[in-house]
């Protein structure tokens, strides 16, 4: 008979999935976007990504030391935050600003709340919001991908050319169309292909739609994310943009333009689906995703900023606990009335 028996509570078997594996899946899902970033922005891509990861992980180590808690960097969540932050930054952002942003995103976005699982706001978006508020000019100076021999978008609105290398992104151009009440109808097939393959100016990782979709589909297939939040974000943004475009197609660009430009897809698949800051229930996820899509479009069309994903995500993060309360599931036997 065996001598040492373990006594612990049921269940005695586990499925073997771990937080680290979920985070590793997200990292793998981001690899196509990182590869596309390297292709279009050359050396700036690894500089930003590696700096972000290193700064995030170092900050988390340091904060764990301060809190006298065991080192939590091995759950890879700091790596994911670093990559997402890097992919949402302008490619030419100076390295010192990148470091500051990463440290802020981990320290104030996550560790101050109590570490993984306790934060209210998406840490990468917190870092980016801090950078936007503090270094506004640096954060709105865009770079054209090095593969463009001549500037495609500027063919539509020549007055946009500031310089051969730094020029407006598609979203800045659409914001101009809204303001001028003219110019939106020119968006056509060539521009759509450019947006989908990534030959447009923008943040590091959000330009190539195909890469993001490949990563997103990988996550869906692996079961790391459920389809509800991405579907809700994309559908609500599409509907909002379609309503605007139908009302005035000279002023508002087609919905497909909005879907393929800016950080909407990156946000739908990788940023909004962050489990810590999104609701628990399926109905909650639909409402959350719809809120992000609608707010993004509201800011893009009627707000002052050309891009709205970051603020939309942060705003909906703040409402997530309320959404969870609203959609508290009713137990299968109904509310208990019998004792």
């Amino acid at each position: 008979m065996p001598k040492d028996l373990t006594v612990s509570c049921a269940p005695h078997i586990g499925r073997g999935i771990s937080t680290r594996r979920i985070m590793a899946d997200v990292i793998i899902g981001l690899v196509p976007a990182m590869a596309a970033a390297w292709y279009y922005f050359r050396i700036r891509a690894p500089i930003l990504i590696i700096t972000c990861i290193a700064a995030s992980v170092a900050t988390e180590c340091f904060c764990n030391l301060l809190r006298k808690k065991p080192n939590s960097i091995w759950d890879f969540s700091a790596v994911v935050t670093g990559i997402i932050l890097a992919l949402s930054l302008p490619p030419d952002l100076p390295v010192w600003a990148v470091v500051i942003g990463s440290c802020f995103s981990i320290a104030v976005g996550k560790m101050v709340f109590g570490g993984l699982g306790a934060n209210i706001f998406n840490p990468a978006m917190v870092g980016r919001a801090f950078l936007t508020a503090s270094f506004g000019v640096l954060m709105t100076t865009w770079t054209v991908p090095v593969t463009i021999p001549d500037v495609k978008m500027s063919r539509i609105a020549p007055e946009n050319i500031v310089d051969a290398r730094t020029q407006a992104t598609p979203l800045a151009w659409s914001k101009l169309a809204v303001k001028n009440r003219y110019g939106a109808q020119i968006y056509g097939r060539q521009q759509f292909i450019a947006a989908v393959t990534g030959e447009v100016g923008g943040c590091l990782g959000e330009t190539c739609v195909i890469a993001i979709l490949v990563g997103g589909v990988y996550l869906l297939v692996r079961g790391t994310i459920s389809f509800h939040i991405p579907a809700a974000v994309i559908l609500s943004a599409f509907v909002f943009a379609a309503i605007c475009c139908l009302s005035n197609s000279y002023r508002y660009v087609q919905p497909l333009f909005h879907l393929t430009s800016g950080g909407l897809l990156l946000g739908a698949f990788f940023i909004a689906t962050d489990p810590v800051t999104s609701p628990l229930t399926v109905k909650g996820k639909w409402l959350y995703g719809a809120g992000i899509g609608t707010l993004t479009m509201l800011i893009r069309v009627f707000g002052e900023y050309p891009e709205g994903v970051m603020y939309a995500v942060l705003l909906m993060n703040s409402v997530t606990p309320l959404i969870d309360r609203l959609f508290k599931p009713v137990p299968m036997g109904g509310k208990p009335g019998i004792r």
């Binding site: 612990s8 509570c9 049921a10 269940p11 586990g14 599931p329 137990p331």
Partner: protein, 456 residues
């Protein structure tokens, strides 16, 4: 209540642990160990514990009633062997710690009893009046053998306040490793159909379903054949249900077959349903037709660490040590010996724990099977929502568990901690390795102690 018995019936939530039934599914029921000593617990059922009817030194015969209670919700206990009462003392119990038991020393340590059932060709369940059949069920000490241990005579008794319309017989056996119910459906099919016919007569139910998970096609065929072959078993509908854990929970089975929900905090008779396990039903047949009390049951001894896994017909009161010894002993690298299955079973340390009427399986697991869950750290909850997806009672396990962890019992009540059936699905799927089911169980015990429903 229109039900499509050919459809893939199921319930919301649930998960799919690996079945691991191949170790014992093809092992026929064998006679268990010849025991020198049995320890019959006085409380093997929900309800009032029995008081002993015999004293130390008394001689007892096999089948003799040795403990009974006057309480309404109770069931007597019987001796499985001829022998002498050695003592009335405490024996280990998986949940209660230590509990009084009547220990009987067998006069013939080599005798075993073989399962048998004699049915006359002119069997007619109408020849038994409901009252006399109910009396026999009570007198035989039959309780819910699927694990619940509720006295069956109380469950079957027709009650004008909660009239019973549907009888569901539970042959699902959703837990991994366990095959005892599967084997008795294959080998004792006629006993089961006779028992169902008797239960139907006693309870007055008009419709009868036999729920079997669809990973047991042989059992479905065997039961269909037996229903056709047995007189008095007309109208019993064999309902295959989708294989998913915990389909065998009675609330989940009612939802799958009838698409009805048992109210929270309530019991199935409140919606006119009675649920019985197949082993209980077989015991009803033996008690009413052959007059035999519940003294033996089929137990699956399984797990990769046991030398001769199989399904054994053992006397109730056999110590687990004797049973595992009879099966060739447990390997050196055994980490856990579990009363029950790996999802809801209770790991024990004291192998003198006796088999009770509700023990369906002993699962012996090796170190490498449990180390993945044990050695990994508990990391913080990332709100992934997987526990909500799999909860068969549609609760929010992470909120309840964290409320209990932080002593916020009002929050735990607001998230319906009492509705939890402790199935373990939430802990099973949690990526952060949090012992959700463990915290919730602890919370329920605290509440029970606060409300004096459990001794402190």
């Amino acid at each position: 209540m229109r039900v499509d018995t050919k459809a893939r019936l199921t319930f919301p939530g649930g998960t799919h642990p690996p079945e691991s039934k191949d170790l014992t599914r093809n092992r026929e029921i064998q006679v268990g160990p010849a025991v020198k000593e049995v320890a019959i617990m006085l409380s093997q059922h929900t309800g009032a514990a029995c008081s002993p009817l015999v004293g130390q030194g008394d001689a007892v015969k096999a089948g003799q009633k040795i403990g009974d209670s006057d309480a309404h919700i109770s069931a007597p206990v019987h001796s499985p062997v001829d022998g002498k009462v050695k003592e009335i003392g405490l024996r280990p119990h998986a949940i209660l710690g230590r509990s009084p038991a009547i220990v009987i020393e067998a006069s013939d340590p080599n005798s075993v009893r073989h399962p048998s059932f004699e049915l006359r060709a002119d069997f007619n369940e109408g020849s038994y009046s409901p009252e006399s059949a109910l009396w026999r069920v009570r007198d035989a000490g039959i309780v819910g053998m699927g694990g619940g241990g509720f006295p069956t005579s109380v469950k079957l008794r027709a009650d004008s306040k909660t009239p019973r319309e549907v009888l569901i017989v539970n042959g699902c056996e959703c837990e991994p490793y366990i095959t005892c119910d599967y084997r008795i459906m294959l080998e004792w099919a006629s006993r089961i159909t006779v028992g169902i016919a008797l239960a139907r007569r006693v309870s007055g139910c008009s419709r009868v379903f036999l729920g079997i998970e669809d990973n047991k096609p042989e059992a479905i065929n065997a039961m269909n054949a037996a229903v056709k072959a047995t007189a008095g078993a007309e109208g019993i509908e064999v309902a295959p249900v989708r294989t998913k854990y915990p389909q065998g929970g009675e609330r989940q089975l009612i939802k799958a077959i009838l698409n009805k929900k048992v109210p929270s905090g309530g019991i199935p008779p409140m919606i006119g349903v009675v649920v019985l396990n197949v082993a209980t039903v077989a015991a009803i047949a033996e008690a009413v037709v052959c007059g035999r009390p519940l003294t033996h049951r089929v137990v699956t001894v399984t797990g990769e660490a046991v030398a001769k896994p199989g399904n054994y017909y053992v006397p109730i009161g056999t110590s687990i040590e004797d049973l595992i010894g009879f099966c060739g002993g447990a390997a050196e690298n055994t980490a856990k010996i579990i009363v029950g299955g790996p999802m809801m079973g209770i790991a024990i340390a004291d192998l003198k724990t006796p088999i009770t009427k509700t023990t369906g399986a002993i699962t012996v697991l090796t170190e490498e099977q449990v180390v993945r869950k044990l050695e990994r750290q508990q990391t913080p909850c990332i709100h992934c929502g997987r526990c909500l997806e799999v909860c068969p009672e549609q609760l929010v396990p992470t909120k309840i568990a964290h409320a209990v962890k932080n002593n916020l019992f009002d929050v735990a009540e607001r998230y319906h901690i009492r509705a939890c059936m402790e199935c373990g699905c939430c802990s099973y799927v949690c990526p952060a390795n949090i012992e959700l089911a463990g915290y919730i169980k602890t919370g329920k015990i605290f509440l029970a102690r606060q409300e004096k429903r459990m001794p402190a």
